[in-house]
């Protein structure tokens, strides 16, 4: 039976962070996943903490850490090193990020003309972070025929001060805010729509198609030329351009460089509904880093169960076509996600189940799962459901006893967070992935690995 030092289950941000860090430390890591989800659905930035009225991510993390039961209570100190690690990893693939945890959280435009408060974004979204000067305009530039980005909707909405200031709360917290936050928005917001070369009459126009088109240097230079002309025709003066996040998949950096050269104004991408190209780029960078470190990756192989020996997981069992594929595991990182990712399943009888290891799940009673309305301030009580862990991220039961010694639970599977409302999902993922790797890989964690037996010296089996 093949063996791995660590089997990571789930290929989202948390799983990949843990897997890369472990592989970096010399562990034999097998990463298995049912499919792609998390990265492909999210805006591609590193949202660490933006609870209402916290001015910076750092303060946000502190506030959330002080909340009873929040994962940051354990992980607050891992965000910084985890983030630095991940940034250096994706930097290998040329994927750069802007912003630091200490920066003021800034409202950036969204694809329906709202704003969201962010601190660390991919470089392609970076110029949305700069403060707006008094005479700057924002040109929302859509692509004719592309149905996931409506410039009229976005521009009309962003012309309202309330949309910007609702997000910029927290300046009164004593941290430096050198100007009235209400002025920190564009003076004018305009909408333009540009027809890009060869797109008229196409039967498929979506983020993937456009992203691939922007990977073609000749095409994109012509496209940017058209956009530049449309922007110039709309007026003069300082400003920025907001475009849908379709600017290249494999060649995004080159596409942004061309944009900087050809467009008359700074431009930033606005993330869209899935498939998220910023998320794809992040995934590609992480995947490459993992494989380069000798990691083994299997996408499309669900874990059907695990074999255990007392409080240790010993074998991870995957479903192959007609038989089980068994991998001996020294340790397991469970990064299967929350309800959205399929790592937690709501059952008809009102239970919330963790399907891989059947871990105890902290969840409200079914009567209290959902609020009355789709969106309200306190959210749905079910959002905080998840698996509770000790400080080493080992799953624990209601009595606080460790269920498995050699399992680390990471990412949105962790209980106590409202990932969307608190904007902490990426931070928790990175911090927990980093912490899991440190715990499982450190010498003090040697006991967790159990006895390892390579089947053949030097082989990758």
């Amino acid at each position: 039976m093949p063996r791995a030092d660590v089997v990571v289950i789930g290929a989202g941000l948390a799983g990949l962070t843990a897997a890369i860090a472990l592989a970096d430390a010399g562990a034999r890591v097998e990463l298995v996943a049912r499919g792609h989800a998390a990265t492909h659905w999210t805006p591609g930035g590193f949202d660490c903490a933006a609870p209402p009225s916290a001015p910076t991510s750092t303060v946000g993390i502190e506030r959330l850490a002080a909340r009873e039961g929040h994962p940051y209570g354990i992980l607050a100190g891992d965000v910084q090193p985890g983030l630095a690690f991940v940034r250096s990893i994706v930097g290998e693939a040329g994927l750069m990020y802007r912003g630091e945890l200490e920066d003021l959280l800034r409202p950036v435009p969204t694809a329906i003309g709202g704003t969201r408060r962010v601190g660390i974004v991919p470089a392609g979204q970076g110029s949305a972070l700069d403060r707006w000067s008094a005479d700057e305009r924002l040109i929302v530039c859509g692509i004719t025929g592309f149905k996931d980005f409506w410039p009229s909707l976005i521009a009309a909405s962003l012309a309202r001060p309330s949309v910007w200031s609702s997000a910029s709360a927290g300046a009164g917290d004593g941290l430096a805010a050198d100007a009235d936050p209400d002025d920190d928005r564009p003076a004018r917001v305009e909408a333009v729509s540009v027809g890009l070369p060869g797109q008229a009459g196409r039967r498929s126009i979506n983020a993937m198609e456009l992203g691939q088109a922007f990977d073609d240097a000749a095409w994109r230079r012509e496209a940017f030329g058209r956009i530049a002309r449309a922007v110039e025709a709309s007026g003069h003066g300082p400003g920025r351009i907001a475009m849908p996040a379709v600017l290249g998949i494999a060649d995004h950096a080159a596409a942004m460089a061309d944009a900087a050269e050809i467009l008359p104004l700074a431009m930033f991408e606005v993330p869209l509904v899935p498939p998220s190209l910023p998320g794809l780029r992040l995934y590609a960078a992480l995947r490459g880093a993992f494989l380069r470190r000798g990691g083994r990756l299997s996408i499309g192989e669900p874990v059907i169960r695990m074999e255990t020996d007392g409080r240790r997981v010993t074998v991870v069992v995957l479903s192959a076509a007609v038989r089980e594929r068994r991998i001996g595991a020294g340790a397991v990182v469970l990064a299967t996600g929350g309800i959205a990712g399929g790592g937690l399943i709501g059952l008809a009888d009102g239970r919330l189940q963790e399907p891989v290891l059947n871990l105890p799940v902290e969840a409200p009673g079914v009567e209290d799962w959902l609020a009355e309305q789709a969106m309200c301030d306190d959210g749905h009580p079910l959002e905080r459901a998840g698996v509770r862990t000790d400080a080493q991220l080992r799953p624990i039961d209601a009595a606080g006893d460790v269920v498995y010694d050699n399992v680390a639970v990471v990412g949105s599977l962790l209980a106590g967070q409202r990932a969307v409302a608190e904007r902490c999902g990426d931070g928790v993922a990175i911090a927990s992935g980093w912490r899991a790797a440190a715990t499982l890989g450190s010498s003090s964690g040697a006991a967790l690995r159990g006895s390892l037996q390579p089947t053949v010296a030097g082989s990758r089996i």
Binding site: A111, I112, R116, W150, S166, R203, S204, V420, A421, G425
Partner: protein, 556 residues
Amino acid sequence: MSPAQSFDILIIGGGATGAGLVRDFARRGLRSLLVDKGDLGSGTSGRHHGLLHSGGRYVVKDALAARECIDENRIIRRIAPASVEDTGGYFVATPDDPDEYVDAFAAACHASGVPCEEVPVAELLRREPALNPAIRRAFRVPDGGLEPWGLIEATVADARARGAQIWPYQRAVAMELTAGGRIVSVDLADERSGSVTTVAPRFVVSAAGAWAGSVAALAGIKLSMAPGKGTMLIFNQRMTDAVINRCHRPADGDIMVPVHEVAILGTTEITVDDPDVYGIGRDEVAQLMVEGLKLFPDLARMRLLRAYAGVRPLYKDDQPAAAVKDGREISRAHLIIDHETRDGVGNLVSIVGGKITTHRLMAEQTVDAVCAKLGVAEPCTTAEEVLPGQGDAASYWLGHRLAEHEEDGGGDADLICECEMLTRASLDRFLDARWPCSLDDVRRGTRLGMGPCQGGFCTFRAVGIVAERSATGTLPAQPEGLSPEAVDQILLDFLDERFRGTRPIAWGRQLQELWITAGLYGGVLGLESLSAGSRPPTAEIAPAIAAERETVHAQG
């Protein structure tokens, strides 16, 4: 103040019956106005099970109702084929169904004129492999699928062509009566703008169904309705292409109907006080599932998409019977109430009860009664002529949206709602014809948001199109466009509406879908930053509300 417009007939209630009434009156030469407090078909008709009854359900207990069903079934297939899917239907005897009923079934069908043919169970199971293999007997009947909004649209189109007027979003708020008990004028309040219009009808027909009580109250009449809520469960895929009925005394959860791309299991019967206020409890859902599992053993593994309910217009007759008799027997299934004899109001009639399958007959009988009072001798012709807009007179084909799109070249470029294959062009046509309206109205007319993602991906696209047309001044009747706040409200209202049908069934894949949608709108799209995005915190709303007492708006 402008003089009241006068009409021969004012019909209050724009469901299937109201539509049938305005068509029949118009065809008999009477100047008619149809009003509804909302969009046409936004009441009970828009929340029915989707079934065109063969009558098989009634053959054993109510032969007359059964006969009415089969007669009208044939008529509707002829006059509105585009609204009918020829699914066929089966009555199946599970091991739980008593022999006496099953044994009597075929003969009872024949006695009522309902075509019925027993088929070998093995043959049925080969056609519909998801059915319970323990079924003992099976009978084929001409059940079908009936799409209410297209039916109503086509029916009122015929009426309009003959000079009738149709005014949705007009709520009747006051009636003026003479001392002698005749209605001389009715005030209609526009639900969208608030303005009031007064009309002067010679005769008023209330087809308000479950709301008949509140309409009668405007004339000072006490009419007690007993709205019967029926809950239905929508499954994401058709596990059957034929209607499947339990062969037993009619009870809850004993019919599965394939409706467009989904399959709907129903129903229940619970009396509610107010047809606008009711909830759906998890226990109702659980009970329906228990019954459904008897027909489809794998039902618990199939994706439950949504729960919705309609309220039946059941009448609680607390006064001596005053039913109109025209010489024929009238089925107990529906009732025409002559308020002249019952309440001394000479020009008001209410039609209550009934089902959408027999709407045309209900209208015919009501119009006959009113015309008799008015001395109008024109006969009814509504059974004869095919409704407008039926295309090539072929019945509905499930694959038609896909096939047409594929013929056009396929692809996703112009699909606004991908789940339901709704194109930009179709959406624009609807907005051209019906704006101003809500996205829920758009949903009824185009199926926007009725697929697995329940509006997750298409809501903001539809809103984007509205905003684009607002900015270019191409929204009908609103060339000045909409404020961003109004646009926000359109978005939020639709998301809320979709949520309400998800909440009672929020587990499994649909819970996961809900979480993804919440992640999109809350996370990527920053919904909470929009002006109307701040809601009262839940502390202001009663916290844990017992399942069977949830109070939510009517949803579907």
